[in-house]
Structures are given as structure tokens and as C-alpha cells.
């Protein structure tokens, strides 16, 4: 029997459902596997991956918890190379953004690039189209550009030795052209690399052991004893300074997936996401296979008669087994091809949701082997039951039509339906819970006024012209207030545990975030002032050494009446002039940390402008651009809305939520396809009974109810099993968030009711159809 004949058979509805269900399941699983494959490849693409390490630091923080981070003090690199056995090579990396490149009239503000040591290109074997990787980043006059940036600047990638101007100050020679950095490298998106020596020349470098600000990558020798190196490294900083931080090596291949630390211990990270999604892929595939088996066995029982006849005319058993397996394989092959088509079709959508480049590895033989292997596996699995079970029947019994085992108390098909719905319900609950969690955090009072507020980085002449810019913005009625700050309101750039104040317990470690602002910060940000006043540099010149703190900081410092109190940040003493209500600077899912906003004495690099509400946003932006054209003409006008920056904080969780709902939807859909087919099969196999009951006076309603009841019981059972599982999973997931919802019964009720409703709608269509049929047709004597 050929596949085309199976498709054309009277049961083509069944067959269609069967193939579609399997194709969707396979497609979804393939998408997830492609994504997982990509996750696994991140930072594992370098030829020397297994010998590369990134240097991490740890130290005691607030509440004696151990904090871990992956930036290092700049002097560490040289000392490490000299003192740690087994180090082959190393390179620092200090990210920069907002550098202006110009070639003649072409000006490009490049967002992502970094200063690196001269060994950087060799360490990671980033391939150069032109230039010598060992010397390309040695002199302060050199720059390595990506091919893309080179083409945008020069119109060609043949630019070795040409001159490019950096900001208004540096003339650099292009010493290397970089091929596009692979998507699975942490350096993807970097557009240029500048020599460390240039950074020193520009005066950005420092030798402070207490300032952890650059990444440090190390290549260990092939034979290096890593444990010994770890031991040597541990107290390296302590040996050279007063700083108590400890250091360690982390394999670079683990740095992306195993990125979360709790109290100094590695506790998962992105790997848990990868694991979760591999389970989901497995489950969706399982559900689709269950469907396929369920539907094909249901159908094959109807073919018992065919089997009987074939046996009577002399077909040996192995031929029958072959027949069923071949048919099943043909169907899975069709489904597999359809799945591939679906994946191609929906890959762009999926890429949009996950925000990462995921590709089908058409050229990878392993992909195709896996693909074919899966088709064969599913085909054999699904075909095995009819093949071995049906072919074992006594033909006479089958032909006499006494082939009945449909309504036994335990039926593997029922078990499969329960399993399916169990998984679907767990996914629905997860989806609802994640959505609620996001909503919960979005509803949280963020503590400042987000609209009409933009920020921008200080570039070019902005620093020099700041007073003029500020004056123009206020004078022309564009802005209500302007504040120069250390970092965007929604970002934390700085903080340490070295603040001191009168009455501080010397044994207690308190980590405090640091921000700085020159003037009118409460007005610009729209903070709620609880005590004291705003920074006002014009009226009180001493406000450059003043500070505004948040509620949590006041509590952490133990100040009952904080106004007028002082604290020390290193050698600088600040006096507190105001207390603001807590606002969300970091994650909306975490508790708010203590924060001090120091006066104009601090480092400042970001401008915040609160627009005049009388102007429309377009108007305000156009006029602001005009001001910057006047005072910072070399640079393109760039800005960011604070509300958009804040919304960005939800992106990763929202992605998870979208993916979870996508897959929950698919699972439910596939399960319902299966249920639909199964209900049709059940109704058909009970058609005689339905006829009898109708003749005996059963109404359409009572027949529908009878047919649906069984499925209702199965789905309800699935709910009962799914609830505790979902509770356990979501409890684990939500534990990642400090600011989180409690799992309430209504989520479960909603998911359960949803599953029951959807399944009943699916089933009742078939039930009603069966109940409406004329009993005479089904009761006609054969």
C-alpha cells in the first residue's frame, strides 16, 4: 500500500490530522533544538576555546554574602603573566561606546568597540582579512576595523594603512581588517578594536587595584596545571594591594551558560533556560508522537478486517509487520518534510522572539542524520503497535467482527491522552504564571517619572560646552531641568562596600550603589522627595559635596534623621541634604539596594533632560537637536528615552513568557488535534451503541454527554497530575526573582478550566455529530 493510497483512503481526515500534528510537533522541537544548539555554541567557537579562561573576582558584600563579578583591576594583567605558572598569553578588554570615526566627510558614531592588549587577536584567533594579527594592535596609532565598518567609512575593505580620524583628537592607521565576528562569539557586534597603548596615551588608564573595570582573558598553556594556577591566583590582588578581593579562572566555554552566582557559588544561569527548553522540545515531540501513535493505532484497528483477509489469503506475519511499518514510515517522512518546511517558514518569527540569530545548519551532516534518524525512530515507534499487535490476531476472530477491546478500564490510549494533557496543562500554568510575574513587576512603583525624559552620553565637545548647552535648553524653554549624572537613571555603573560613616559597625559589610548628579536631580528624574531638598548648585555651591540618598540607604546606614549627616567615599566627605523614595535603578524583579547620589564632585558622563511638557515630544527633540548642532557639531545627535530604557529591563523575562505561551499554545493545539481524531474514532467505534441508545429513547444531549464524559474524566485526571508538577516547576522558576508573585489557586483553576473547555469543544464537535446521525444507518443488519 503506498502513501498516496493511505492519503486517499476514506480516512484521509484522520491521516491529515495525524501528519499535521506530527509535523507541527517536529517543527517546534526542531526550532528549539536549533536555538539550543546556538546557545551551546556561544563562546565555544575559538580554536583555543579549551585553553581560554576569563578572570573572575569575589569578595564579601552586604549581609556577608559573597559577590562575584568578572571585571578586574587594570594592573592585574602584567602581574598575572609574571607570577602565575602556565599562563601562555593574556589580554585585557575595556569596552567603549560612542566613538566618532571620520574619513573625510564621512562620519560614523560607532557604538561597540574596545581597547585590547596586543595579544587579543591571537588569543581568540579572530580572522583578519588584512594585516598581521601579532602586530596590528601594538602601537597607539593603530586601529583594527571590521570589514563592515571599513566599507561604511571608506566604501571598500581594502583599507590597510589608510588614515581614520578618531573623535577630533587622534589620527589612526588601519592596521587590520577583521572578518565579521561569528554570531556565537561574545565579541559579535564589535566594530573596532583599539590598542591598549592608545588608551594609556589618552589617559584613560589607571593603576588602581581597587577599580575593577576591565575584562581579563587568559590563554593557559596546553600542559598547564589549572588547579595550581587557581591556587596561585586566589590571593594575587591581596599580595599587591590593600584590596581583599580574591580571583579565580573560569573556563570561557562556561561563561555564557553558567553565568549566575549566589553567595560565591555557581548556581546555573542560562543553562537552566536551555535545560527547560530542551525538556519542552522533548515534551512537544513526545506529545506529537503520542498523537501519531494514538491516531494510527486507532485507525489500524479499523483495519483489523483487512489484516484478517490478508492472513486468510496466506500473508505471512512478517509481511504484515513490514506493511504496517512501511506505511508508518512513509507518513512520518511526509510529516518530517512538512516540519522542515514549517521551520523554514517560521524561523524569522522565531528569531524575532528569541532575539538571537538562529540558523538551519543546512551544510551540517549531523543535522541531516538527526533529522532522518528522528523520522525513522518515530515511524518505527508509531508503527510498532499495529505492526506487532494486529498481525498477531487470529484471522477468524477478526473477520467475525468480535475484535473489541475498546472500552477496557485500562487502555494505553487513555494513558497517552492523560500524559499529553498533563504536559499541556503544566505549560499553560507556566505561561500564566510567567505573564503574571511580568505584570507584577511592571505594576511595581518605579519611583520616578518616566515620560518626557531623555538621556544621552557625553561625547565630543559636550563636556566643554555643558554650561552653554544647559543654558540654551533652559533659556529656550525646551527643558524644565537638565542634570548631568554618572549613568543613565536605569543603570547602575558603580558601587562598593567601602563607604564609611559615623556609627558604622566596622565588622559589617554594606554594599552601596553610587550615582552622581550635578544639579536638580530630583526635579529632572521626578523622584519623590521624602526629606530635605534637591541639589541646587547655583544657590549652594557646596552642593558639589552634598548627597541625596534613597530610603533604603538611610535604613542601611542606620540614620534616624539623615539630613546633615555625613559619609565618606574614600577621601571625599559628602553631607546628606535629601532623602528620596526608593526607585528602580536595577532589576524590577529584585529588591531595591541602598543608593547614594553624590554631588557634582563625582564622575559624570550622562545628560538627563526633562522636556518642557508644553512642547510636543517631536518639537522638543527637534529643538534639542538644534542646540547640540550648535555646541557639539562634529557628532550626530543621539538620545534615548528613559521609559524605553526601563521597558528594556523586562525584555528577557518577556521573551521567556512569549516562548512559553507559544509552546503552550502549540502543545494544546497538537493535543487537541489528537483528541479530535480520537473522539472521532471513539464515536465511530461506538456508532452502533449510539444507534441502539437513540432507538431506546436517548436524546442528542444525553448521547453527546455520554461521549464527552470519558474525555472530561481523562482531562480532569490530567489536571490533578499536572497541578503539583506545575507548582513545583513554577516555584523553582519564581525563586529566581526576589520581587515575585505567590502562586495562587486561581492560576491553576484558570489553566484547568481552559484545558477542559478547549478539550470539550474539540470533543463535543465529534460527539454531537455522532449523536445527530440517523440510527437506522448504523443498525442496519449486515
Amino acid at each position: 500500500m503506498t502513501a498516496s493510497r493511505i492519503l486517499n483512503r476514506k480516512n484521509k481526515g484522520f491521516t491529515f490530522l495525524n501528519i499535521i500534528g506530527l509535523a507541527i510537533g517536529m517543527g517546534a522541537a526542531m526550532l528549539i533544538l536549533l536555538w539550543i544548539n546556538f546557545q551551546w555554541s556561544i563562546d565555544r567557537v575559538y580554536p583555543k576555546t579549551h585553553r581560554l579562561y576569563v578572570v573572575g573576582q569575589q569578595d564579601v558584600s552586604t549581609n556577608n554574602e559573597i559577590a562575584v563579578w568578572f571585571s578586574t583591576p587594570k594592573p592585574m594583567a602584567a602581574v598575572m603573566k609574571a607570577e602565575i605558572a602556565g599562563v601562555e598569553n593574556l589580554s585585557r578588554l575595556s569596552g567603549i561606546n560612542g566613538l566618532l570615526f571620520s574619513v573625510g566627510e564621512t562620519k560614523i558614531l560607532s557604538k561597540v568597540g574596545s581597547f585590547v592588549d596586543s595579544s587579543f587577536l591571537q588569543l581568540f584567533d579572530l580572522p583578519l582579512l588584512a594585516g598581521n594579527p601579532s602586530t596590528a594592535l601594538r602601537d597607539p596609532s593603530q586601529v583594527v576595523l571590521t570589514e563592515k565598518l571599513a566599507i561604511s567609512l571608506f566604501g571598500t575593505s581594502d583599507v590597510l594603512g589608510k588614515t581614520v580620524q578618531l573623535d577630533s583628537t587622534q589620527q589612526l592607521l588601519v592596521s587590520g581588517v577583521l572578518k565579521e565576528v561569528p554570531k556565537s562569539s561574545r565579541f559579535t557586534g564589535y566594530e573596532y578594536f583599539l590598542p591598549w597603548t592608545l588608551m594609556e596615551k589618552m589617559g584613560y588608564s589607571d593603576e588602581h587595584w581597587g577599580n575593577s573595570s576591565v575584562n581579563l582573558f587568559v590563554e593557559m598553556k596546553e600542559q598547564a596545571n589549572i588547579a595550581a594556577a587557581q591556587a596561585q591566583l586566589k590571593n594575587l590582588i591581596k599580595r599587591h594591594s590593600e584590596v581583599s578581593t580574591q580571583s579565580f579562572l573560569k573556563p570561557i566555554k562556561e561563561s555564557y551558560l553558567y553565568n549566575t552566582y549566589k553567595n560565591g557559588q555557581q548556581v546555573g544561569g542560562r543553562i537552566s533556560m536551555v535545560k527547560t527548553f530542551s525538556y519542552i522540545a522533548g515534551f512537544i515531540l513526545l506529545i506529537a508522537c503520542i498523537n501519531f501513535m494514538n491516531l494510527s493505532t486507532a485507525q489500524s484497528e479499523k483495519r483489523a478486517k483487512e489484516v484478517g483477509i490478508r492472513k486468510v489469503v496466506g500473508a505471512p506475519r512478517f509481511r504484515l509487520i513490514g506493511l504496517f511499518l512501511r506505511e508508518s514510515l512513509q507518513l512520518t517522512a511526509i510529516a518530517g518534510l512538512l516540519a522542515l518546511l514549517l521551520v523554514m517558514l517560521f524561523l524569522p518569527v522565531f528569531v524575532g522572539i528569541v532575539g538571537q540569530e538562529v540558523n538551519i545548519p543546512y551544510l551540517d551532516i549531523r543535522f541531516w542524520l538527526l533529522f532522518v534518524g528522528f523520522i525513522v525512530f518515530t515511524g518505527l515507534l508509531a508503527g510498532s503497535y499495529p505492526a506487532f499487535f494486529l498481525s498477531s490476531f487470529n484471522p477468524i476472530r477478526v473477520l467475525k467482527g468480535r475484535f473489541q477491546q475498546l472500552h477496557s478500564k485500562f487502555n494505553p490510549r487513555k494513558f497517552l491522552v492523560v500524559t499529553q494533557f498533563c504536559i499541556a496543562i503544566v505549560l499553560i500554568i507556566s505561561t500564566v504564571a510567567i505573564r503574571k510575574q511580568i505584570q507584577h513587576a511592571q505594576d511595581r512603583d518605579f519611583g520616578f517619572t518616566q515620560d518626557n525624559l531623555v538621556y544621552m552620553m557625553e561625547v565630543g565637545d559636550m563636556k566643554k560646552n555643558y554650561p552653554l548647552i544647559k543654558h540654551a535648553l533652559l533659556e529656550r524653554g525646551i527643558a524644565q531641568s537638565v542634570t548631568r549624572m554618572m549613568s543613565p537613571l536605569t543603570e547602575r555603573w558603580s558601587g562598593w562596600n567601602g563607604f564609611t560613616w559615623a556609627g558604622k559597625d566596622p565588622n559589617e559589610v554594606i554594599q552601596i550603589n553610587r550615582q552622581s548628579a550635578d544639579d536638580q536631580v530630583v526635579a529632572t528624574a521626578g523622584f519623590t522627595l521624602l526629606q530635605g531638598r534637591d541639589l541646587d548648585l547655583a544657590k549652594f555651591p557646596t552642593d558639589s559635596m552634598a548627597a541625596i540618598i534613597n530610603e533604603t540607604a538611610a535604613k542601611a546606614m542606620g540614620f534616624k534623621d539623615p539630613l546633615g549627616k555625613t559619609f565618606n567615599d574614600g577621601n571625599d566627605q559628602y553631607h546628606i541634604i535629601g532623602v528620596i523614595k526608593d526607585f528602580i535603578q536595577e532589576s524590577p524583579f529584585e529588591p531595591i539596594k541602598p543608593l547614594v547620589i553624590e554631588g557634582a564632585n563625582g564622575f559624570m558622563n550622562t545628560y538627563h533632560i526633562r522636556f518642557n511638557p508644553k512642547l510636543s515630544t517631536e518639537e522638543a527633540l527637534a529643538k534639542t537637536e538644534q542646540v547640540f548642532k550648535e555646541y557639539n557639531s562634529a557628532y550626530p545627535f543621539q538620545y534615548q528615552f528613559v521609559d524605553e530604557a526601563y521597558a528594556f529591563k523586562f525584555m528577557e523575562t518577556q521573551r521567556t513568557g512569549t516562548l512559553a505561551s507559544l509552546f503552550a499554545g502549540l502543545t494544546i493545539f497538537i493535543s487537541c488535534l489528537g483528541l479530535f481524531g480520537l473522539a472521532a474514532f471513539m464515536a465511530e467505534s461506538r456508532i452502533k451503541e449510539i444507534g441502539i441508545r437513540k432507538v431506546l429513547g436517548a436524546s442528542v444531549f444525553s448521547v453527546t454527554r455520554m461521549l464527552s464524559k470519558e474525555f472530561l474524566l481523562l482531562v480532569s485526571l490530567a489536571c490533578l497530575i499536572a497541578f503539583p508538577i506545575a507548582y513545583w516547576i513554577m516555584d523553582q522558576y519564581l525563586a529566581h526573582f526576589s520581587y515575585r508573585i505567590t502562586l495562587s489557586w486561581d492560576i491553576f483553576l484558570l489553566a484547568g478550566a481552559g484545558a477542559i473547555l478547549i478539550s470539550m469543544l474539540t470533543v463535543s464537535f465529534q460527539s454531537i455529530k455522532a449523536a445527530l446521525a440517523n440510527p437506522v444507518d448504523s443498525l442496519r443488519n449486515e
Binding site: 451503541e689 444507534g691 441502539i692 429513547g697 444525553s702 440517523n774 440510527p775 443498525l779 443488519n781 449486515e782
Partner: protein
């Protein structure tokens, strides 16, 4: 009790009509015992189905207990027939998953009788047909004759005025067949109108009158 006038039933095949029932005129009084005979495809089962309103004619009049059945609303017609008709089938059509007791009880459930009433009626029938000992068995555990007795008991559960039987002995051996016919005779004596379709001359003879059918017509 039953009166059919100029009854036609046909199937359309393209432009052709193939008639299953042609101009049937028939009157059956209460207490009658009618046997319908004829070769396969002569329309006797269809006629029985139409009398039992399991099937509708395309044309003609049908009066049951003086009422115009075809003019009635479906719901009322169903109630009328559910209350007054019982059906017996050649292949018994018992529900395999239910016990003898439950099979007999089924029509009573659909009549919304209370559980106590149902119990009384079913016990009475089990008694009457001497199958008390088999009440917890499933159809598959009974012989064909016994299954048909259960089928008849079930048909009688609703105390119908008319019993419609489509080849009730068709799947039985002659001895079992005789028993069923004796049962029908006894029921008829108790006042039940019986209409049966049969192939067997011998069984047909149990009836008060015999209708011979050929090509959809009564001879």
C-alpha cells in the same frame, strides 16, 4: 391503530428515483400480529422502520392512534413513539459494556423513571422471562437465543403497545426461534400489537396475517 396511506419512499440517484416503498396502504388494528415477508431488498425492513418512525417516508400519510404523525413536531413524535413502541433486532443490538440488568434498564433511564421504579420493572421482566440468574452477565456471555430474550425484555420495559421486530429469529437456530415465537404469541395474547419481518414461512405463520412484499409494494 396504525394507518398508512399512499406512502412512498425513494432514493435519488442522479435524475432517477429508486423506490424502496411504493404506494403503501396499510391498516393495523390494536392487538393484531402481522408478519411481513418478502425477498431481500423488497422493502420490508424499510416499512418496519417507517412504522417505527426510525425512518421517514418521502410522501404519504401516517396515522398512529388517530394522530397525523408526519405533521407532528419531532419532539412530540419522539415522545409518542418512545412511549408506545418497542424494537427487537435480528442481531439483538445489546450494549456490550452493560450487564443484562443494565441493558433492560437503559430505556427506562431515558424515560426519566426513578431508580426504584426502574428496579421494580426490570425485576418483573427478569422474572417473567426466567433470566433472573443471568442479570449480572454481559451479552457476550449469553447464547444467541438468550441474548434475543434480553432484547425482547428490553423492548418491553417501556410497556409498549406495539412491538416491532426485524427478523427476530434470523440469527437463531430453529429451536431458539420457536421459543421466541411462543413468547411473541403469549405477548400478543396479553394485548401487545406485534409487527415482525421474517424470512421464515414457519415463523410468519405465528402471525394473524401475512403481508407479502415485492419491489417496495404489498402484494
Amino acid at each position: 391503530m396504525i394507518k398508512l396511506e399512499q406512502l412512498f419512499k425513494w432514493y435519488s440517484q442522479g435524475n432517477n428515483r429508486s423506490f424502496v416503498l411504493k404506494d403503501i396502504n396499510l391498516s393495523i388494528e390494536a392487538g393484531d400480529f402481522v408478519s411481513i415477508m418478502g425477498p431481500s431488498g423488497s422493502g420490508k425492513s424499510t416499512l418496519l422502520n417507517v412504522i417505527g418512525m426510525l425512518d421517514e417516508p418521502n410522501e404519504g400519510k401516517y396515522y398512529f392512534m388517530g394522530e397525523d404523525v408526519l405533521a407532528m413536531k419531532t419532539k412530540k413524535r419522539n415522545q409518542l413513539f418512545q412511549a408506545h413502541m418497542g424494537y427487537v433486532f435480528q442481531s439483538y443490538h445489546l450494549i456490550d459494556e452493560l450487564t443484562v440488568y443494565e441493558n433492560i434498564e437503559t430505556p427506562l433511564i431515558y424515560k426519566n423513571l426513578s431508580s426504584a421504579d426502574r428496579k421494580a420493572i426490570v425485576s418483573d421482566l427478569l422474572d417473567r422471562f426466567h433470566i433472573v440468574g443471568k442479570k449480572d452477565l454481559f451479552p457476550a456471555q449469553l447464547s444467541g437465543g438468550q441474548q434475543q430474550i434480553v432484547g425482547i425484555a428490553r423492548a418491553l420495559a417501556g410497556s409498549p403497545k406495539v412491538l416491532l421486530a426485524d427478523e427476530p429469529t434470523g440469527n437463531l437456530n430453529s429451536k431458539q426461534g420457536e421459543e421466541i415465537m411462543e413468547l411473541f404469541t403469549q405477548l400478543n395474547k396479553d394485548g401487545v400489537t406485534i409487527i415482525q419481518v421474517t424470512h421464515s414461512e414457519k415463523n410468519a405463520a405465528y402471525g394473524h396475517r401475512i403481508l407479502e412484499m415485492l419491489d417496495g409494494q404489498i402484494k
